[in-house]
Amino acid sequence: MSDTDLQDQAIQVDTEKGNFKYPENYEFDAGVGLTEDTIKYISDVKDDPDWVREFRLKALEVFQKKPMPTKWADKDLENIDFDKIRYYLSKGQQPARSWDDVPDDVKETFERLGIPEQERKFLAGVEAQFDSEASYSRMKEDLEKEGVIFVGSSEGLAKYPEIFKPYFGKVIPTADNKFSALNSAAFSGGSFIYVPKGVKLKQPLQAYFRINAENFGQFERTLIIADEDSEITYMEGCTAPKFETATLHSAVVELVALKNAKIQYITVQNWSSNVFNLVTKRGMADEGAEVKWIDCNIGSRLTMKYPGVVLKGKGARGEVLSIALANDGQHQDTGAKMMHLADNTTSNIISKSISIGKGRSTYRGQVHMPKHLKNCKNNTECDALLINTNSRTDTYPAITTRGQNNTVQHEASVSKVSAEQIFYMMQRGLSEGEAMSLAVNGFVNELMKAFPMEYSVELKRLIDMEMEGSVG
């Protein structure tokens, strides 16, 4: 298909960068609803090995038996109709290694989102997923020579079972929660990464998740293993067009940092406001290792996500730095979990939430530090910013610390951007949107200094857009 053909088709463009879609045209479609047959269809299409077929079917059973979460939950979850969702849609299973080989509509999608440009500028590798499968996946050649593996989850389990299998589903067991079970049954796409001993990636690897289809569920599955003394930064971004109907995104991300390894995982979540984003993310840190989650949630209708770190080895470090922005009609239910399982482990949680209009944000934390451990430290800070009186924010920190040699610090604050502050800024010539944007940027400024540059620039841009849009 040529470029002009594409333009002739009805492409729905909106002012928001991610809000456009191309006509649906899929070779593989598992249909609507979730049954054993759906899962079997996915396995057939993917040509899964037997152990994966069994893994999926068992997970389906768990999913069907498990009730919806009740303790950490939002009433809005009840509005997900699992029978109306499509669980697998793809144009084929093999990602292209060159953008030239990517189907035109998909390629244009990612070009509009700026992915090939970012790849040229500062990335060591990119995987671009379109609905259920990656359309493009490529890593710089020198990294391949060093033994770095960066492929999709299906390719990972097929080609590298000896590394994949021992860790898959170990950090986050199928039955962890209803949505991890759903993902374990229907997973498709996502990344498998292995960084060999001592290899330190200087540039980040990036995955971009794009939902194009309506009534669709995306269930990517990512497993990153950083071998001893290695280092990696992984970034993920996502968008979807805005539909009237609900879209489901339910990922599982498992990180394994072996002795003295460092993993930094960065998310810019910018789903459209009809997406239920229910994601389970957890890392395991061995002796002297470090797992850092930088998690920013700007989009979606409801996000429930609490990245965690299991501090398994002595001296392991875990960190969650998060920013959540809840605008009208959104609920950002986010937080962090830190499980201290060894001596001298430290964890740090900094959470900043912004609620605007009728937007709602919730922080839920869990810090677990058993009695028999020595010299463990946790620092938790959660700050909420309210812009106008209707917004709602809740903080539920659950810190269970025992033992005399362990220390925990917890601080929380709620502040408001007052009408007088906005007036003051507008008196200097800023529009209302610019004034709110500046106040929000001021609120997250300190925290953003800890983020990589390219990433803070993108985040600032998203916040500005969001604030401009929130002025009635």
Partner: protein, 254 residues
Amino acid sequence: MNHSLEVKNLHVSIDGQAILKGFNLTVPKGEVHALMGPNGTGKSTLAKVMAGHEDYTVESGEVLLDGVNILGQEPDEISHAGLFLAFQYPMEIPGVSIANFIRAAKQARLPEGEEINAIEYYKDLYAKMDALKMDRKFTARSLNEGFSGGEKKRCEILQMAMLDPKYCVMDETDSGLDIDALRIVSEGVNHMRSEDRAFLVITHYQRLLDYIVPDVVHVMFDGRIVHSGDKELAKELEIKGYDWVKEAFATASA
């Protein structure tokens, strides 16, 4: 074109309570007018209404900048039209540095697509900070957050100098300033005095007017100007207080 700030028969209330009751004033460009008067007579209210604060209800009247009525415009539009208000109580904006804030305010005045020249900007900013004897380290501090009273006032004047307004309304800029700061800030203001700029200086004390010598002094009472005179009037008030104005006013309105 009419080169002045003009307030015509302005009536303003808040929550049904009248505060400005037929306020009239004309400050032509090139002049400095002082506005004095007892606490609670409506000086700050006047300043905020002129700047477009939405809490106040304008019952009637006009505020004209160069002949154009600005009442009903958004605060940012009024700012772009050339009115600057140095606040009696400047707001704190956590996390936003002075440098970034002023830069954003200047950027907001540029046409779409035009970017501020960062090098020129910092040169200008530092020169004006030096003139106001502000430590350059201040540029990195959050706007007004944790500033002393005097530091806040100095920062207001820095913003005023940077934004180059045509009409400057200064609401009790002198309160909170120590003796040296009063002189320095006044010098900054005097430096800005020019043929195409006008000042309305709200103050309670003669000492500011020793430095910023006004062309006209107005006395406000109960929501309107009841007496105007030259700079000697401020000195008279300093000695006699407001009672005689109140008495004269009471007799006049009886």
